[in-house]
Symmetry: C2
DNA sequence: CGGTAATATCGAAAAATGTCGATACAGCGA
DNA sequence: TCGCTGTATCGACATTTTTCGATATTACCG
């Protein structure tokens, strides 16, 4: 027999998903998810001190996770006096939902 | 002055998000996202050979990413003859959407 | 200005991850 | 059975990630 193929070859998407990957990477840690959920389910903002008090992590580690969430654009921060407060970015939920939709439905996503 | 607080302390969620974190971790790689998007936007299944042909990755690396997606439950696989075909798990989209909703709205998620 | 408290950054260590060459395994065809 | 092809696994390496102690920075207060 001649050369055999498995099937008519299907096209594999070769778009650049690095933006979406970075976004989901921000969600790929249980403590960051707890932080995000706390921010999402609270009215307004939360003081960093509340996270350092109540999470099972040391202060530099909390600061590290907050920085990653901040760099992903999912949260914003504001200093008032000695304290720093974080809150959910207004478009956080929408960005994540759009990224999911982009994956499944092929829409353009800005990630 | 007496001891000063930043504010009435806000409660930080301390639920276990390790399941959701593992799920999002599966999405935290651009090549896995390309694989998932290809599966989601194609009718049916895709042969592993199409991925190894068209992705800029060597065959063991493709196999590695497919394994991670499979272990997360987002895809299923079936061997037919020499070839192995992957397809999107029926509940993949729903699980991800539910995990997002669990984060933002506090619903229970099975992840 | 000096002291104290909250937060961020630095540096290091351990663990996890992405990648690939080499190899093993599975199924087909001659 | 033998050889070939597609896929998975193994072992190694480089990079990234998570964590934390130590230290720096910022702001308040006396």
């Amino acid at each position: 027999m001649s050369i055999q193929r498995c099937c008519p070859p299907k096209r594999v998407i070769r778009a650049d998903y690095s933006g979406e990957a970075a976004l989901f990477q921000a969600l790929a840690d249980e403590h960051r998810l707890a932080i995000l959920a706390s921010l999402a389910q609270t009215d307004g903002e939360i003081c960093v001190c509340d996270f350092t008090d109540q999470l099972p992590l040391n202060q530099p580690t909390v600061s590290h996770h907050l920085r990653i969430l901040h760099e992903s654009g999912l949260v914003t921060s504001a200093r008032r006096g000695t304290w720093v407060y974080y809150k959910l970015a207004p478009d956080a939920k929408r960005r994540l939902q759009q990224s999911l939709r982009g994956l499944f439905d092929g829409r353009a996503t800005v990630a």
